[in-house]
Amino acid sequence: MLAAAPHTGFLKGAESFAWSVVVLMVYLQPNPVWTGACPSRCLCTSDILSCSALGLDQVPIALPVSTVTLDLNHNQILQLEEDSFQGLFQLEVLRLAHNQLTTIQPGAFRNTSGSLLRHLDLSSNQLHILKQSYFQDLAGLEELLLFNNRIMHVESTALSGLKNLQKAYFSHNHLTDFPFFSIQKHSHPQLALLDLSSNRLPKLPLADISKLPQSLQEGLYLHNNSLMCDCSMYFLFRAWEQKGFASIEFFRQEHVCLVYGIQRSGIRFFLHRRYFEKCNLTAVTEQEASVSVKSGAPLLLHCITSLSGRSVTFFWLVPSLEYVVPPGNNESLKMFPNGSLEIVAAREQDSGIYVCMAKDRHRNESQEVNVTVLPHHDMGVPEPFNTGFTTLLGCVVSLLLVLIYLYLTPCRCPPCPRPQPPVNTTLSQSKEGGVGSAQSSILSPTPPTTTEGPGRKVSTNKHVVFLEPIREHQNGRLKPGPGLLLEAEPQQRAGETDSYVSVFSDTPIMLP
């Protein structure tokens, strides 16, 4: 370190040539590292060293030690040799994107800032393999960008030791497998994004993936691969979709799988779910909706999605592979504009997966319901004695017995002639006539009959007990018969009105 002189002048004019010779000589030894001047054509400013797009074919030597950010993007660097960045003890960000890198020599990042380096961009290069030695000196790495290379294989220990890794991008490579087992909660506790999209993965090690921490599964991007369509793979993505994972939500259409692994047979499995309906869905998570209904009973299914608003359209895909839109199919299915589907009378062949699709201008969502129609003989425990039928039966039997008593038992008294009340037919009041006719209709068929019986309601404006000269007790006053209906009419009408009012007064009038 410096002595106590108040100022130092390192490269004073005339001595600069001599110094540069010394610098060169010192550099040729393995140690020590000297403060480097700014490489030619690069731009050195405060803690940034910018050497982008200079046609460089290797990393410049003797870089300033104060560099925190080193930008070597858009050059033609072919490989990283050992100690390429030695002496850069403050280096935090290293950009090497858009070069021609094919290999990284062991020790490339030796004698650099060690765990200070947190962002390494190697995207858009020609790397074809990730070896264990590549990142072994970068224990502090947080973001590793390797997209758009030609990587075919990642060694199982390539990422070990990267304890601070948060985001790793491997998309747009040629990967056919990936060591998921090397990533665990204790080895990569911060890893929240692992992008393996746009590769050639044929089959996923589902057991290893399920063991990944949930926080990582949420950021695991596997879309646009060469996945074989099979049920277990579908279940994994379904579960992620139901948990609302961003990896599914933002790339729904890009999740493809190949039927029987044939390249041209890719299907977007979030859009065409019926291919997977034959999968044994009992294995799926508890969030799957399933409904049972008895054969012959109606069933109403709702379409529950997060889409709302006027421009949302719905349609259902039913087990018979029909697409149903409102108002339905005019036979067995009715569909409402709000997306609900009614099976008018469930038949056994209506069992299966019902998929509702809700679509607005920008997004679509779907929901599945598993419907099971239980056949008749399969009703399970026979129902206990049906009280409704019992009551009705009792009612009918009682009525029959009463009628038998009335008509089949001998009558002791001859029928007495009753004075018929004179009916005033000139009255044009339709109401009165209606009342009169109502009364006479009550009078005529049978002698004392109770209008009361089990299950029959008593209307409050008819006080019919025994059929004597009509005395209507309304408003507490005894009224004479129909002959004097003219006078009594207002009261009667008032009484009717009152009774109507009393019927309706405690029920508020509901306007549609």
């Binding site: 370190m1 410096l2 106590a4 002048g9 797009a53 991008y169 747009h172």
Partner: protein, 351 residues
């Protein structure tokens, strides 16, 4: 146009883009538009709000015009690279929406005019790079608004056309701010005031002065270019405190990094502990010395101080160990500032 979409990164670097409108997905976090031909940027470059966009790279585009609405849809930006373009002036509106911006790269443009309110709404700004432009006025307002806050780290106005530095105001700032104020390679006017500043910063080994030691130059009437540190001015020492017996002296521990654990050592290498009643250490009102990122002051009643002795403040931390030695001068005795080699500790991420 062959952009590469890697989950939340969209890379459209060097794909021949001109002034286009991009319909970008809402989940985009990083957008690389570097090395294209986007010469003008209006609000319409993205029709939708991109609420997740944190990093935007627009360097090397020949960009000459930024409308006042250019960044209205990307309010959550934290990192913006506008370097290597042709911007000429910065008005008060361009960066107004960017209240979360932390790092702004503006170097290698043609900026000659900066509105005084150009950066006033950027409350989260930590690093502002404006070197290699045509700036003639030192933007002191950038520092003054932020010197009270803990987050601002770096202002780079080196390699510009600045003639006058606000020396007085700069000297009143904390060391960790001075550490990040880079002004080398400017046509400054020589003065002993300027020399004092540069020399004291150099003595303190502040990055801004030390890393570019040979580039601090000044001129007299714009002609000669002399190295500031070669000027014939009186010698500069870091800190001299003069006091008399029975007086209480307050010494400040002004470190060039924040978040450093500070301890004090009395003359004769006696550490100051709370049990030691000869000196009281005040860690800015907090109990844990590691919390005292602003200051640490030690009050020394002077009857215990020997003649001409040294007291030292040691600042430990996550960064390299550094020392600040205060000299206590009594009756004219002067001790040279000696510095021992200290063990260099690993630098950690958190500054």
């Amino acid at each position: 146009m062959l952009c590469v979409c890697a989950s939340d990164i969209i890379s459209c670097s060097k794909v021949g883009l001109t002034n286009v409108t991009l319909d970008l997905p809402q989940h985009t976090v990083v957008l690389d538009l570097s090395f294209n031909s986007i010469t003008e940027l209006y609000a319409a470059w993205t029709p939708k709000h991109l609420n997740r966009l944190q990093t935007m790279l627009l360097n090397n585009n020949g960009l000459t015009f930024l409308s006042s609405e250019a960044f209205v849809h990307v309010k959550k930006l934290r990192y913006l690279d506008l370097s290597y373009n042709g911007l000429i002036l910065l008005d008060e509106f361009i960066f107004e929406p960017l209240e979360h911006l932390e790092v702004l790269w503006l170097f290698k443009n043609r900026i000659s005019q900066i509105d005084r309110y150009a950066f006033s709404t950027m409350g989260a700004l930590q690093k502002l790079y404006m070197s290699h432009n045509q700036i003639s006025r030192f933007p002191l307002e950038v520092l003054k608004e932020r010197s009270k806050e803990d987050t601002f780290k770096l202002l780079d106005v080196s390699s510009n056309k600045i003639k006058v530095l606000p020396v007085q105001e700069l000297q009143t700032m904390r060391a960790w701010i001075k550490n990040g104020v880079y002004f080398h390679n400017n046509p400054l006017t020589c003065s002993c005031e300027l020399y004092n500043l540069v020399a004291s910063w150099h003595l303190r080994e502040l990055n801004s002065a030390f890393d570019f030691a040979g580039n601090h130059t000044c001129g007299v009437s714009g002609k000669q270019h002399e190295k500031i540190l070669n000027l014939n001015c009186s010698e500069v020492k870091i800190l001299i405190k003069e006091a008399y017996l029975e007086q209480t002296l307050v010494l400040d521990c002004d470190t060039k990094h924040k978040y450093m654990e500070k301890t004090w050592v009395l003359p004769g290498n006696i550490p100051v502990s709370s049990a030691n009643d000869s000196a009281i250490v005040d860690h800015g009102g907090k109990d844990d010395p590691r919390d005292s990122f602003h200051s640490s002051t030690a009050s020394l009643p002077l009857e215990h101080v020997e003649r001409g002795a040294e007291a030292g403040g040691f600042a430990f931390g996550d960064a390299a160990m550094q020392k600040i030695k205060d000299q206590l001068e009594q009756n004219g005795g002067l001790n040279p500032i000696g510095e021992k080699d200290e063990e260099w500790l690993r630098v950690s991420r958190k500054r």
